[in-house]
């Protein structure tokens, strides 16, 4: 069986600065795969290239067996690949409900969208209570819930989450990470990018460690959690 997402020898540059250097990895259906690494390792660049916001210099990206590295970003969503971007990027002057409906922009099944809207409110009750409120007035954690709910509104087969725990309180982080597991159990495949290696690897079926644009280590989540190098570099242990 081929992987749901397959990245082969991907190279991405900003002008002359190469941010991602020939990396290869794959995500199998049903898995949570973590991509961890420090600031500037190329994690966000990788996700933005997969979702079509950036174009690779070379390499291949296959999603569900189809090459997508030349497909425009707005067409990738309807293929079943959603991207919840770094910094959440909710639409601040639109209401919660409008933000969620924008997540379903590529869909045309009005009745099913209503059902999924209710499902999003069930997943994050706070969003349902404040559906008319402008999203910009929300706290970081609430905005993260909204960003995830919005991404789920496109009914993705693969959900890419870019640093969902960034800047959150430990309690809120737990809520978000529990949701990641819940979404996996509902059948969504997840590519999780995190600086918080501990939280990300604990839930990951497989993990990749990215350092200055290269994959330096990979293995199952459990293997990486006990790996000496990972413990030193990312978990703050000697």
């Amino acid at each position: 069986m081929t992987a749901m997402l397959e990245v082969k020898d991907l190279e991405v540059a900003y002008g002359k600065i190469v941010a991602v250097k020939k990396i290869s990895f794959s995500v199998e259906q049903g898995q949570v795969v973590s991509l961890i690494g420090t600031n500037g390792a190329g994690k966000t660049t990788t996700l933005r290239t997969i979702s079509g916001l950036l174009r690779p210099n070379s390499g291949q990206i296959n999603f569900m067996g189809q090459p997508i590295h030349h497909v425009p970003a707005h067409d990738i969503v309807s293929m079943g690949l959603a991207h919840s971007p770094e910094g959440r990027r909710i639409f601040p002057r639109l209401s919660v409900e409008e933000n969620l409906l924008l997540g379903a922009f590529a869909r045309n099944d009005t009745a099913a969208i209503r059902t999924d809207l209710d499902a999003a409110y069930a997943l994050f009750p706070i969003l349902g209570e404040r559906r008319k409120q402008p999203a910009g007035t929300f706290s970081g954690g609430e905005q993260q819930m909204l960003a995830m709910g919005r991404a789920m509104m496109s009914k993705p087969k693969l959900l890419m989450l870019d640093e969902p725990s960034m800047g959150l309180s430990p309690i809120m982080m737990k809520v978000i990470m529990t949701t990641v597991t819940a979404l996996q159990q509902q059948g969504t495949t997840i590519l999780l990018v995190e600086q918080n290696a501990q939280a990300a690897l604990k839930r990951a079926d497989y993990g990749y460690v990215l350092e200055v644009g290269k994959i330096v280590l990979h293995g199952s989540g459990r293997e990486l959690l006990v790996n000496d190098e990972v413990r030193k570099a990312y978990l703050g242990e000697d």
Binding site: D75, R89, L94, G136
Partner: protein, 315 residues
Amino acid sequence: MDQFFQQLVNGLTLGSLYALIAVGYTVVYGIVQLINFAHGEVFMIGAFGALSTYLLFFDGQTGVWILPIMIVGAIIASVVTAVAMERVAYRPLRNAPRLAPLITAIGISVFLQELVRVFYDRIPFADFPSAKQRIPFPQLDGVSGKAVEVGDVTIQRSAIFTVAALVVCAILLWYFINRTKLGRGMLAVSQDPDTARLMGINVDRIIVVAFALGAVLAAVAGVSQGLQNNNIDFKMGFIAGLKAFTAAVLGGIGNIQGAVFGGLVLGVVESMATQYVPGQFGGGTWKDVWAFVLLILVLVFRPQGLLGARVVDRA
């Protein structure tokens, strides 16, 4: 007091015209941060589209039922012009420095004026008059002719049409932007284009919609102007466009309510200045000066505009 109300009526009429055009500047700016200085020409071509429709199909008739068909003709001419200029001139410059599209806009403006001036009477299979002079605009029953008197205040029928057109357009526009999926897509692109793409929104298509939307309102304004002035000419878009741009900045560029409000304020200020500024600085010849003085004052003391500009807000 009658003079005051008379000037208020004049001001609101003029202001409605500015508002209809100003929306086009502001909608496009809100989506692509581009000042489309050729928008005045979209307005002018709207007026010529209405005139052409009349001359081709209804020459000599005066029934008011012709008006909606003329408006449709105006809208087609304006939308085609606006969409074509976006496709041919602005889209290739999407990632260029901002000065490039600005200079291009001025170029398109001159190009379109000259196109109409030189070629309007040479369009094959149509017997159009030369646009080198002013061309009389068709006068229709009900919207032109004898003015309505309310007390001592005279209200031209074309003025009623203009104000009514603004009200109808504003309501339809509000509904489109806030209650339709495409409108929601426009709001998303204006707030965060990259994230909008992640939602599956085709940003290029939204930009075309923004140009087309502005063109529809400019076309209606073109018909209004024709009915009010009884004639149209190839350079009518220049000063009207400049005033409407002023109105858009006045209200807060990127803000649609602001454009409507700015247009009305500008129109009323001009009319009142004509009436109430005493001595040699009063009267019709100075009204443009007062309009731009108002702009300078707003830019100095409230640069975001009266209702606030589109602000870059990312929480």
